[in-house]
Each structure stands twice: as C-alpha cells, then as structure tokens.
C-alpha cells in the first residue's frame, strides 16, 4: 500500500481519448510495434511466468500447512518450503529480466519514434511552421514522448503485471474453493468503485492544484521581477498581501487532495480488514463443515493482498496509461501531416546558372491542410496578384515597399518556401516545382532577417552554411566578407560559445554570422531579407560592407528596409498592394518621379534631420 502522495500527474480533458480514437491509436501502435514482435512475445512469456511464481507462494503455504503441519509430515513440509524457495528465486530472476526486456525494447522504440518524428517535422514546409507555435511542436517532442517514456519505464510492466496478478489470483482462489471465494469476491466491487471514485476526484483536485500552483508561481515571479518597482513606489505590503492570497489558494487546493485521500485510504484499509474477517469467519464455518482445509483459509488471507493491491495500483496507473495514449494520438496526428512542399517524382537538378523568373505569380496564405487541432484556415486575401519579374544571372534586385505589401512573400516564393497559387517561378528555365529539393536549397539560399544562432561556437554557427566545411573554409568565408577583425575581437574569437553569459552577440553581430553562413554556402542565388531592427552602431558599417562583398557577382534578391541598401542594387522593384508598381535602377526611378522617388525623398529628408 502506498503511504506517500499519489504521484501520477493529473489528466485534463485535452489528454483524454474517446473510445474510437483509442482504438485507432492502439491499432496503429501495434502496427508500429511489428518489428519488435519477438521481443514483445518473449517479454510477455517471461512476465506471465513471473506472475505465476508470485501467485504460487500462498498455494505452497497451503500445501505446507495441510500436508505438513496438519498431517504431521515433516518431509512434506520440507518439500513445500523448498519448492517455495525455488519458486521465489525463479521469480527473482524472471523479474529482473522482464524489467530489462521491456525497458530495452521500449526505450529503443522511443528512440526511433523520437528520430522519426523529428525527421518528419523537419521535412514539413514553412506554411506548417507559420500555423503552429514552436512551443506546441516542441511539446510533441518532449512532454508527449516523455509521457510514453514514463509509461515504459514505470507503468507498463506494473500495469500488465497487476492485471495478471488480479486475474490470476481470482482464478486460483476460485479453483481452490468457490464457496470461500464467494465471500472474498463480495469485497472486491466496493474497492473497485471506491478506487474509481478516488481516481476521478483526485484527478480533478490535482488539476485544480496544478492551476493554483501556476497562479502562485506567476505572482511569485512577477513580484520578484518587479521588486524594484514595488520598492520604488513603496508597495511591498500590497504585494505581500497579494502573494498571501494565491499562496493560501495553493494550500487550500492541496488540502482538498488530502481530504479526498483521507477518505479513500481508510476505506480501503477497512475493507482489507473486513476481507480478513470474512475469510476467517466464513472459512471457520466451511472448515467446520470440512468443505475447506485450514491451509486454504491461510492461503486465502495471503491472496487477499494480491486482489487489493492490483485494484489500487491499476487505478493509479490508469492516468499514466491515459496520458500516454493521448500523447500517442497527438504524435500520430503530426506524423500524418504531409509536407506541402515536396519533391515530384522525376524531379531534376537545377542548373548552376541562369535567370530567376517570376511569371504571372498569384499567391494567398492559408487554405492548406488543417492544423494539428483539425482547424482549416480559410484561404486569405491575395497577397500577390499576377506578378512577373525576371532577375538576370549576376543581377542584384531590391524589393522595396510598405510593410505588408508582399515583398517578403515574393522573396519566399522565389526560394520555393511556398508554391504559388497561380503562375510559376523558374530558375534557368526549370520550374522550381520540378527541381530536386537538395539542388534547390544548394542553388538558392535564403538569409533570414533574424540572425538566428544555434547553441555552439560562432564557427559551428557559420558551418550551418555548408555541412562539414573545414575550419579553413570557415576562415576563408570570414575573410571573404572582411570580418576577421570583428570575430577576432570576440572573447574566444570564432570559438566563442554564443549562448554563454557575457558573450551574447548583438543583433548586428548575429547578422554578420548569418551573412558569413551564406558566404560559406556560396550559392549562385541569394535571397536576403534585411533586418528591420536597429543595428548597433558598432556593427552597422560592417554589416553593410559584408553585404556588399557577399552579393558581389551573385544573383541576388534583397528585401530592403533601408533605401540606402536598395540604392546600391542594380534594379529596384517597388511592391505595393500585391503588385509591382515600378521596376528600374535607382537613377531611373528617381528620374521618373513615381512611388520610389516619393519614398526616397521622404527617407532622405528624415535622414537629414538627424542631430548629428
């Protein structure tokens, strides 16, 4: 019997499965387990044998008592005791192997599932990542798989074994004496009902606890983060009072769980004692009538434990199993999501050089596959309408225009982050949809505006540009952009850990890493999304210079937020209202006196006003 707190985590409605989904999950799981069938079969056989050993104990006690003690036969007693010892040792050995067998198979399965799920998720297209929050995707890979891990390491063996023990114990006692069993089995239903009541009630109570803890932690965190403001305005007392109320709420919620278990556990203990009383009392009557032997009565008292414990344990494990089922359901849902950007059969490699052609492209977001909640996002308004633009090999084209005009979308289509709804994007005459994905990513590289850094050194981060690039290659890329000095000034140069305290990179420095990645990748076509955020003054100049060197001699499409960047490009395309307003060189457009000229005048005037 457990004296500690029930330590299964509560299950909320989100993680409960209806019967139909549960059946589907099970069917699919069993298909996935096919490669492991031999290991599972062996584990099951061992588990059944071990349960048999556990259940044999009281029966051997009965044999010892009836054949040895009551019949005054020392040899029979010795035989029974020896058999008991042997069975116990076999049980020990089998018990060890079953835990090991289940863990080995289960953990391997989980490892494969982790990899498979991750591989699948990374293969999904950007529209998927636009729809889903990162946090939710991460939790598929973490808390959901952890729920399965918990089941495998703690619950699975216990769940099956308790079930076997319960059923086995009933079979054994009924076969020993159905009359005495009748008395015992009367007590089982109340315990089952009480356990179900307890599970439901305590689950609700623990959900409440979880909520209250969350609230209390939120108050705690805010009180600590805002402690300077609190003190500055002398509001300490108010906040202490506020914390007191959430803190007491947490206490109350916790106490409720104690009240529930303070009802359940006494009931179970009492029923257990009643069970002993019934066996002894009713057994006494049956012994008197010579229906059962004294040894049988003894064995029944010992089997009582084998009936009670499984009911309680199964009831507690129920949550673990349910959470695991729900987790699997969510994981399967994710595995069923197909990438919208795929490789066609018979896809060809893109040529190394060529013009990037946008022909009569129309695009709207949404309207794709349903998200993980099954919600279908309706097709949005058209972001681009009938846009055509040709970028010659080696030409640098800037896309400018107001926020939301569609310039970033256009850039993404040019790298096939999305497929157009109408029209086509092609490179060197090959429609991007007919190209192999590997050649596509090799030929057209997108440098996103946020210079995202992965854990590791600066060098590791640059190496993202070309997998397996040598240290020398990284140095060459750094030198090509003229950034040796800037990186050398980092605490450990290129080997500086980017996530370590004290060496946090500024926005500008992150951009530089990002640009160097692109230099290392050395693709024929670059799609650059310029940062909108303010760069720190120290790196501003370096970023501009690196960008110039990087784009030199390459086919480049840059989404420009600064008109100074646009001015340095060969041609400028002004995007607004989902279409191209004007296209031409900086000088041409200025001379034309259209949209670009107006934008540039406003920007130029604003720059002049600068105090410095």
């Amino acid at each position: 019997m457990r004296a500690g707190r029930v330590d299964t985590s509560p299950v909320d409605d989100d993680s409960r499965l209806d019967r139909d989904s549960a059946r589907r999950v099970l069917r699919r799981l069993s298909r996935m387990l096919v490669p492991y069938r031999r290991a599972i079969l062996v584990a099951t056989v061992v588990l059944v044998a071990q349960t048999g050993c556990l259940l044999a104990g009281p029966a051997l006690v009965r044999a010892g008592v009836d054949n040895g003690l009551v019949a005054h036969d020392a040899a029979a007693l010795n035989r029974a005791a020896l058999a008991y010892l042997i069975v116990a040792i076999i049980g020990l050995v089998l018990g060890r192997s079953v835990i090991w067998l289940v863990a080995r198979t289960g953990e391997r399965f989980l490892r494969e599932l982790r990899e498979r799920l991750f591989r699948h998720m990374t293969s999904l297209s950007l529209d998927f990542f636009d729809r889903e929050k990162t946090g939710r995707l991460v939790s598929r890979m973490t808390s959901d798989i952890d729920a399965l891990q918990e089941l495998i390491s703690q619950g699975l063996v216990m769940f099956v074994q308790n079930f076997l023990i319960f059923v086995g114990a009933i079979v054994v006692i009924v076969s020993m004496s159905w009359q005495l069993s009748l008395g015992v089995l009367l007590i089982v239903p109340p315990v089952v009902f009480a356990s179900r009541w307890f599970r439901t009630r305590s689950n609700l109570a623990y959900l409440e606890v979880r909520e209250r803890i969350g609230e209390n932690l939120a108050t705690l965190q805010e009180g600590l983060e805002g402690v300077r403001v609190v003190q500055a305005f002398g509001q300490e007392r108010g906040w202490i009072k506020r914390f007191h109320s959430t803190n007491e709420n947490q206490y109350e919620a916790n106490l409720e769980t104690v009240r529930i278990s303070a009802k359940y556990f006494p009931f179970v203990e009492f029923t257990g004692v009643v069970g002993v009383a019934v066996i002894v009392g009713w057994g006494g009557v049956l012994v008197d009538q010579s229906v059962v032997s004294v040894g049988t009565v003894l064995a029944f008292v010992l089997y009582l434990n084998n009936l009670f414990e499984p009911i309680q344990q199964l009831s507690q494990l129920y949550n673990t199993v349910q959470s695991a089922g729900a987790a699997l359901h969510k994981i399967f849902g994710l595995l069923d999501t197909a990438p919208s950007i795929g490789e066609k059969p018979g896809a060809v490699d893109l040529p190394n050089q060529g013009a990037l052609e946008v022909a009569a492209v129309t695009f709207a977001y949404g309207g794709d596959a349903p998200d993980l909640d099954g919600v279908i996002h309706p097709l949005g308004p058209e972001v681009l309408r009938d846009v055509s633009l040709s970028v010659a090999a080696g030409e640098r084209v800037a896309l400018v225009g107001p926020t939301g005009a569609g310039k970033s979308t256009l850039a993404k289509l040019m790298a096939r982050f999305y497929d157009p709804r109408g029209g086509a994007v092609s490179f060197g005459g090959v429609d991007l949809r007919n190209a192999t994905l590997s050649s596509l990513r090799r030929t057209i590289v997108v440098v996103p505006q946020e210079g995202f850094l992965f854990a590791g050194t600066v060098r590791d981060n640059i190496r993202i540009g070309r997998d397996g690039a040598s240290d020398e290659a990284v140095d060459v890329a750094v030198a090509a952009l003229g950034l040796e000095e800037i990186f050398a000034a980092f605490p450990d140069g290129l080997d500086t850990e980017v996530r370590e305290r004290g060496s946090r990179l500024s926005a500008g420095e992150k951009q530089l890493v990002s640009l160097t990645r692109a230099a290392l990748a050395d693709p024929p076509v670059l799609v650059l999304d310029e940062a909108t955020s303010n760069l720190d003054p120290g790196t501003e100049h370096a970023v501009e210079r690196a960008m110039d060197r990087l784009t030199e001699g390459r086919t480049v499409v840059v989404v420009a937020h600064r008109l100074s960047t646009a001015a340095r490009c060969d041609r400028i395309a002004v995007v607004d209202n989902g279409g191209l307003m004007e296209v031409g060189s900086h000088d041409e457009l200025l001379a034309r006196g259209g949209r670009y000229a107006t934008l540039y005048a406003a920007w130029d005037a604003a720059s002049m006003h600068h105090p410095a």
């Binding site: 004296a3 018990g95 991750f118 939120a218 509001q235 108010g238 004692v273 850094l453 600064r562 934008l599």
Partner: protein, 583 residues
C-alpha cells in the same frame, strides 16, 4: 525550520497519537486471526471464530479511523509549513535591498520558493509517517521475539537487506535520473532551436544536420534510460523477493516448531501478515534518509536568504528626523559609491539641485549617471558622503516616506500584468479614475490608452495583446506622475518612444516638471533640452555644468559624449522605417 512547525503542535500531537493507535490496531488483527484459527477452527469452536471475526471488524474500524486522521494530520502540517515558509520568504524578498536582487537571479529565487520549500514539505510529511513505521517495526519485532526468538531472527534477518537495497538503489538511481533529465533537456534544446530557427534550417537546407544532432542526443537518452532500467531491474524484484524469503523461513522453521508443538498453525499466518506489514516501513525509512538530505540542503538555501538583513533600513526611532518640508532641494555632498569593493562608480560627487529645478545628467556609458538617480530613493546607500533632501540626510527619514515623495521612471520599463489603470495607480491603488486619467494625459498616454480594446481596463499582456516599448514607457511615466512626487526621476525614460511622438511627451512632461525637482538621465539632445541645466558627469564626479547650448559651445567632452550616445546609424535605421509607415 522547527519554528515553522511550532504553531501546529495540536495537529502534530493528534497525528502522532493516531499513528500509535493505528499501529496498535494493525498489530492486533493478525493475533486475532491466529486465535480464530487455532482456538476456533482447529478446536472446532465455530462460535468463537464468529466472535473473533466481529472483534476483528471492530478493530479494523478503529484502524481505518486512525489512518485517516494520521494521514490528514501529516499532510496538513506539512502543507501549512510549506505555505507559511513560502509566505515568509516572499515577504522577506520583497523587503530585501536592490543590491541583493542585482546579484540573485529570479529563476534561482523561484527555485528557492518552489522546489526547495517543497523538499522541506516532503520531509515534514514523512516524519509522522516514519514515527508510525518505527512503532510498527518495534511492535512486530517484539511480538515475534516473544513468541520465538530464533524464528524472529530467521524471518526478519533478510529484511534489513531490503532497507539497505532501497537506500543503495536511491543513491545510485538519483544521479542517473539527473543525467537522464539533462539528456532529455538536450533533446528539447535541439528541437526548440531547430523550430525557432526553422527559417535558417530551411534557408540553408540543413535539415539532415539537425537530424544528426538529434540522433546524438536521442542516443544519449537511450543510454541513460537503459542505465536506469538496469538499476531498476536490479532492485525492484528484490522488493518481492526478500519478504518471500522471510515467508519461506516462517513456513519451514515455523512449521517445524508447530510440528514440535511450540507454535500453532495460526502463528504461521500471523507471521506472514507481519512480514507483509513491514515491507512498506522498511522502504520508507530509506526514502526518508534520501529525502532528509535533499530537504536539509533546500532548507539551508532558504535559510540563507531569510537571515540576509535588508541593507536599506529605517533609522532608529530615536535618531529619526521629521520628514522635511520643502520644494525638493537635493544636495550631494562628496558622495562616494561603488557596486561592491573595487567597483567605484562615484568618487566625490558634489552637486546641488535647487527645489523645482530640472537637471539633465549626461555622461558616457558607465559614468554613473543612472547610479546618481538610484541613490536618491535610497535603492542603495552611499559609501561615504551624504545626500540630503531639503536639508535632511536621506538615511535619517523613514524609507517609506522618502520613496513616497519620489517618482521614478526606470530605464527598463516593468509593467505588471494588471489593467492599465492598476498599473498607473500603482503608487496609490485607491486613486480615483480622474487622477489616473490626468496622469495618463500628462504622460502623453491617454490617446492610445483610450484606443485600447477595454480602455483603462485593458489587461496588459493578456490574449497576446502587447504594447510597444514607447507605449510602455508612457504608462511608466504616468505611474510616476500619479504619485505627485516632490522629486521626479526620468531614467532614460523616452528612449523607446518613437521620435515622431517624442515631442508630444516633451510638451506633456513640461507641464509635469513645472515647479517640480526633476532629474533627467538622457542622451538625446531633444530630451536634454527639457532641462533647465545640464550636468556632465565623468570619472565619478561632476565635470561641468551649464545649459545645453553653453556646454555644446564650450565643452569638447560634452560634444563627444553626445556624439557617441546618438550614433548616426542608430537614428538612421530608426528613420529609415518611417517611409513605410507614413505612406
């Protein structure tokens, strides 16, 4: 932590008493069952069997009652202790000085108030349960020894091994579990990174690289999980095995004693039941030992915070000065200050700010201009020299009075996740809405607040709704204004405000500052222009003072500080985005 449990002595007493009674009842039942078998069944006295059965049920009822009470008491005491301790810790943290909070990380303090206190709670639960367990073990031992010393030795001999194994197991599994947790964290690290940076991953087509990183982490998880499984497979079966060995001993040796007439058949049953009773207490003692060491470490860390005294304290009542009347004249006299030894920031600062005067403090990064602002509300105390408000040393007046007379807008705007109204009325939660609206208007915030979904009742940070940096700053200014302070401190308070909106705030601030002593920490010339006088700070002291124009004309240091503070590129970038907005 004994004092934390103290107030609940009645529950402690009740819990322990119930525990003893529970043990006694529990120990009686096997004896009664044995008697029913030996004196009833085997003697053919069915009436006696029935009588004893009734007694068993009655004692079972007492047992159940006591077990409910002892559980309830144990958990209640523990939860109460946990709750009170957390309250004490929070209240203490709220009163600890800035310097403490500068060094402590929020996450760590959260861990103190959460996990560490929970460790203490768990051990408090285990104590009464362990007391009952010890009684159980003592009782079982006594009964068995009295009946047959040799059998007791034989039957119980193997059981301490269970305790030993449990302790050993928990000692060995803990580090493996920690490692497993770390490896799992690494997995989520890779996953989180890959999906946060999915645009980079897709842009460079490095999905395979990420999959390989995951494989490495997944393999480590597998390795640690299997190591844990190996340990578990060594221990778990022993929980069943060792008691079984005892039962075998009882059947064999006890059986022979029955044959010799020294024991009875019922005793065999009673002994078996006693063994079953011992399994849990033996395991729990192992748990208690492991938990106690964790809890004492946690309690130590909590205690460490509780014994830290707030460095900024009220003056002794006898030495306290009356809070001065006045217009808010601030006088810095030879002020020395550093954030810890060897980190001197102010070194002999002398400065007088007349009541009602607006002074801009200008200096290079690290010159200590923010520090000057933070000494005035006594967030820190000076190391030497003194600061006086209207002629009285800051340290001579109650801290609460001092802070009530000062309004500060911090450099990093912190707003609480309450309504806009509650945030503005922070200094005076009872302030009428008219006062809140006035403060918002003065801070140039009323226009955008009224446009919010629920106006002043809009809850900040709810439903993904968020304010821009400039809007947050204006609410913070309104918060400082509402208190109607004698001294207003603006620590870089308009840095995130959109340049196009800045002039609105400037004109509003002009009204607020009128006749109020104001300290402005700024580096934008436009903000500096709000001040009557500029004080240039460097090397921990005042380098020059004068109007903005005077210093600009005469002081090269001043020009250099302004030039580096407002770097061309930064403003350039800020303005470059405006065409998009304006067209």
């Amino acid at each position: 932590m004994g004092s934390a449990v103290g107030p609940q002595r009645w529950w402690v007493a009740g819990g322990v008493l119930a525990g003893i009674l529970w043990t006694a009842a529990k120990l009686t039942i096997p004896l009664l069952a044995a008697a029913a078998i030996d004196d009833g069944m085997r003697a053919g006295d069915t009436d006696k069997v029935i009588r004893l059965t009734v007694v068993i049920v009655a004692i079972g009822a007492i047992q159940a009652l006591c077990t409910g009470l002892r559980r309830y008491a144990a958990f209640r005491i523990a939860l109460r202790t946990e709750t009170d301790l957390r309250q004490r810790l929070f209240a203490h943290l709220q009163r600890l000085h800035f310097a403490f909070h500068d060094q402590a990380q929020t996450g760590q303090l959260m861990a103190r108030a959460n996990t560490d206190i929970q460790q203490v709670q768990t051990v408090v639960i285990l104590i009464p349960l362990t007391v009952a367990s010890i009684f159980t073990m003592g009782g079982v031992l006594t009964i068995m020894v009295v009946k047959s010393g040799a059998l007791a030795l034989l039957a119980l001999g193997a059981l301490p091994l269970l305790n030993l194994a449990a302790t050993r197991f928990s000692r060995r599994i803990t580090p493996v579990n920690l490692e497993l947790q770390e490896e799992l964290a690494d997995v989520s690290g890779v996953v989180e990174e890959t999906f946060s940076g999915v645009r980079v991953v897709k842009g460079f087509g490095v999905e395979q690289q990420q999959v390989r990183r995951l494989q490495v982490e997944a393999d480590s998880v597998l390795d640690r999980a299997l190591a844990a499984a190996r340990l578990r497979s060594g221990f778990m079966p022993l929980v069943d095995f060792l008691p079984t060995v005892s039962m075998v001993a009882i059947l064999w040796y006890g059986g022979h004693q029955v044959l010799d007439g020294r024991l009875q058949v019922g005793d065999i049953l009673a002994y078996n039941l006693y063994i079953l009773m011992l399994i849990w207490p033996l395991r729990m003692i192992g748990m208690l030992i492991a938990q106690a060491s964790r809890a004492s470490a946690g309690a130590g860390r909590v205690h460490e915070i509780l014994v830290t005294d707030p460095a900024i304290a009220d003056p002794e009542p006898s030495a306290a000065a009356a809070f001065p009347q006045g217009r808010g004249e601030l006088r810095f006299e030879n002020v020395q200050f550093g954030y810890g030894p060897g980190r001197s920031v102010l070194d002999g600062l002398d400065l007088v700010i007349r009541g009602g005067e607006a002074v801009a403090i200008v200096g290079a990064t690290g010159s200590g201009k923010t520090t000057v602002a933070r000494l005035v509300p006594r967030f820190y105390d000076v190391d030497a020299g003194r600061i006086c408000l209207d002629g009285v040393d800051l340290r001579a007046v109650p801290v609460a009075d001092l802070r009530r007379s000062i309004g500060i807008v911090f450099e990093d705007t912190f707003l609480f996740s309450d309504s806009v109204r509650e945030n503005i009325a922070f200094a005076d939660p009872e302030a009428p809405i008219a006062a809140v609206e006035r403060a918002a208007r003065l801070a140039g915030a009323s226009e955008f607040i009224e446009a919010l979904p629920d106006g002043y009742d809009t809850v900040i940070g709810e439903h993904g709704f968020s304010l821009s940096g400039g809007q947050r700053q204006r609410i913070a200014i309104a918060r400082a204004v509402l208190a109607d302070p004698r001294v207003l401190i603006l620590d870089d308070a308009t840095s995130s405000v959109d340049p196009t909106k800045e002039h609105e705030i400037r004109s509003a601030l002009g009204e607020v500052m009128d006749g109020r002593t104001t300290l402005i920490i700024a580096h934008r010339p436009a903000t500096i222009a709000l001040a009557d006088r500029v004080v240039l700070i460097g090397q921990g002291r005042v380098l020059a003072t004068g109007t903005h124009q005077e210093l600009l004309a005469t002081n090269a240091d001043y020009r250099r500080v302004l030039a580096t503070a407002s770097v061309p590129g930064a403003a350039d970038a800020a303005i470059a985005t405006t065409p998009e907005v304006s067209t």
